[in-house]
Every structure is written in structure tokens, then in C-alpha cells.
């Protein structure tokens, strides 16, 4: 099945450095049909259209609710692909994305120089384009990880 001419892309990122890196790459998605899944906060205000989430890491009930909400977002939006710069918000987005047959791309945060992130380790097995920003990290993940340079 070939891709539609203007694929719809879900852009998923938490805050802090993950948000900064997503914003540094927004030019790539300029012409695309896209929407954001992110945490709230002043820095994320320019990301539109967006679905805002609260932090859910420490709360298993919240995690279940996040999975459910993302399922319904994907049901409504039907994205063709998902791109994430992390962090943990990528986990439900990628697994739900996989359920919907989305292509999945992930960029490990530049803060991870030698140590894989938890998010990266969880999504690596199901990610189509898995990018790290520092070469030493390649061997920590496996043969499908690629290094295309970094943002710094």
C-alpha cells in the first residue's frame, strides 16, 4: 500500500529538552499534515493543533487513562506515521500507533550520550526509524539503531 500524498503525522514529545529538540526539527514537518501529543506548559503553546497531557509516570491509573485517550486520538485522527523525541509519552503513542499500522520514528535525546533511555529501550523493538545522536549509543541498542549526527 503506497503512502498518501500528504501523510498525517503524530508528533509526540514531553517537555524540556525533548520539546526543544522537536521544535528544532519542526521545519521538516512544515508541509505535512500534523498534530502534536505533548505535555502542557508555556513552552508548548506554539504547538498546534495539540492534545495536551498531564505527567503520568508515577501513577498506573493515569497511565491506563493515557493509553485509552491516545487510542481514541488515533481512532479520530488516523495518522500514517508517528515521530517522537521522547520521553515516556512516546511509549503509549508508539504501541497504539503500531496497533493502527503507523510507521514509527524515534530520535533519542541528545542528553543520552552513553546510556540508553528507558523510553528508547522500550520502543526500540517496534520502531522503524530509530535514531541516536551519539555514536557510542549505537552498540547499546542494536543493529537497527542508526546515527545520523546530532542536533548539537
Amino acid at each position: 500500500m503506497s503512502a498518501p500524498k500528504n501523510p498525517k503525522i503524530a508528533l509526540v514529545c514531553s517537555d524540556g529538552g525533548h520539546l526543544t529538540e522537536m521544535m528544532a526539527l519542526l521545519d521538516v514537518f512544515g508541509g505535512s499534515n500534523r498534530f502534536f501529543i505533548t505535555y502542557g506548559g508555556a513552552m508548548a503553546d506554539d504547538l498546534r493543533p495539540a492534545y495536551f497531557f498531564d505527567r503520568f509516570l508515577k501513577n498506573p491509573f493515569k497511565l491506563a487513562a493515557v493509553f485509552a485517550r491516545i487510542f481514541f486520538i488515533f481512532l479520530k485522527e488516523r495518522p500514517d506515521a508517528v515521530f517522537s523525541t521522547g520521553a515516556e509519552l512516546a511509549i503509549p503513542a508508539f504501541f497504539i500507533g503500531m496497533l493502527f499500522g503507523c510507521r514509527l520514528a524515534y530520535l533519542e535525546c541528545s542528553a543520552q550520550v552513553r546510556t540508553p533511555s528507558l523510553t528508547g529501550r522500550v520502543v526500540y523493538p517496534i520502531t522503524d526509524l530509530f535514531m541516536v545522536q551519539w555514536e557510542p549509543l549505537l552498540e547499546k541498542y542494536g543493529p537497527r539503531a542508526v546515527w545520523k549526527g546530532g542536533l548539537i
Binding site: G17, T20, A24, F29, M43, R103, C109, V113, M131, G150
Partner: protein, 165 residues
């Protein structure tokens, strides 16, 4: 010895303080006489000189990076990207877990990589006491660097990913 120029200091919006950096920059500004504007985050240290705020709105922060003769910052990704985008010389100093400045030592690892493979216009100061030398060099030289937005490899891979069947 007095030197002119505007130095913008930033410690990002991480929720731990980085007083060592703020205190050192306060000392250096008193010693050398440059103009100082500091984004201090949640640091409790109250500098004697210059304008200091916990946070600046994003546009103002970008403007300060653009206008500064040099930027001194924690080794955060946003700081490095911003300074390089504007071609403003940058000195970075890592927050350290052992000092209660971060919950891991990723900034120190980044500084290690940027010491091994330096980027134009980015100097690494492992400790606040190492800031003075590269900062004074930047201020005396007064030059700017070629604006850079690294990441072309990532962008190319993503464009291919978007277009792929």
C-alpha cells in the same frame, strides 16, 4: 582589567539550582566590568550586579542570545542550539549530580564529547572556575561565528521517512 560587552547567562528551566555558575558570573562581572544579564532559574543566589530574573519569555531570551557578545550557560541542549543558531560565542559548564544541580550527569557527558570534538564557538568549562579564560577570550575578540543548525542528517532521514511508502 575592564572589558566591554554583554554577557547573557542562562541555567535553563530545570528545577534544581545552579548557584555555582551564577555566583562565579557575578564575581567575573565585578572583576572585569562587562554588562551582565542573568536567567537564574531556581537558583537562590542573589547577584550583586546586572539584571537577573528566574526566567525570561522565550522571545526575550532569544533576543538576549542574539544580542550578547557571549553567552555562558549550563550544558543544556536548548542553550547550545540557541547560541549556535545565532552564531554567538558560548561557554558551557555542566550541572553535576553530586552537587545537587541535576539528577544525572548527562550534561557532564555532553561536555566530554564537546571537549573531544569541539564545535565552532562553543567552549567547555568543566567547573565554574574554568569559565573566565575562554569567556575573556571571546569578549576581547568580539567576533561572532557562522550561524549553524546542526542536524541535517536527522532531517534528511525524517524527510525520507515521511515520504516513504
Amino acid at each position: 582589567m575592564s572589558v566591554s560587552g554583554l554577557v547573557y547567562v542562562t541555567v535553563g528551566n530545570h528545577d534544581q539550582p545552579f548557584d555555582r555558575l551564577i555566583a562565579e558570573m557575578d564575581t567575573l562581572a565585578q572583576r572585569h566590568g562587562f554588562e551582565l544579564v542573568m536567567q537564574t532559574g531556581c537558583s537562590g543566589y542573589r547577584p550583586a550586579r546586572g539584571e537577573a530574573r528566574p526566567f525570561f519569555p522565550r522571545e526575550r531570551a532569544e533576543e538576549l542570545v542574539r544580542a550578547a557578545t557571549a553567552v555562558v550557560g549550563h550544558a543544556g541542549i536548548g542553550t547550545v542550539i540557541s547560541a549556535r543558531r545565532h552564531g554567538t560565542p558560548l561557554v558551557i559548564c555542566p550541572r553535576r549530580r553530586a552537587r545537587g544541580e541535576h539528577f544525572n550527569d548527562h550534561q557532564a557527558e555532553i561536555c566530554g564529547e564537546l571537549s573531544r570534538e569541539p564545535r565552532p564557538g562553543v567552549a567547555v568549562a568543566p567547573e565554574p572556575g574554568d569559565i573566565e579564560t575562554p569567556l575573556m577570550e571571546f569578549l576581547r575578540a568580539g567576533r561572532r561565528f557562522e550561524p549553524a543548525t546542526p542536524g541535517e542528517g536527522i532531517r534528511a532521514a525524517l524527510r525520507e521517512f515521511i515520504a516513504a511508502p
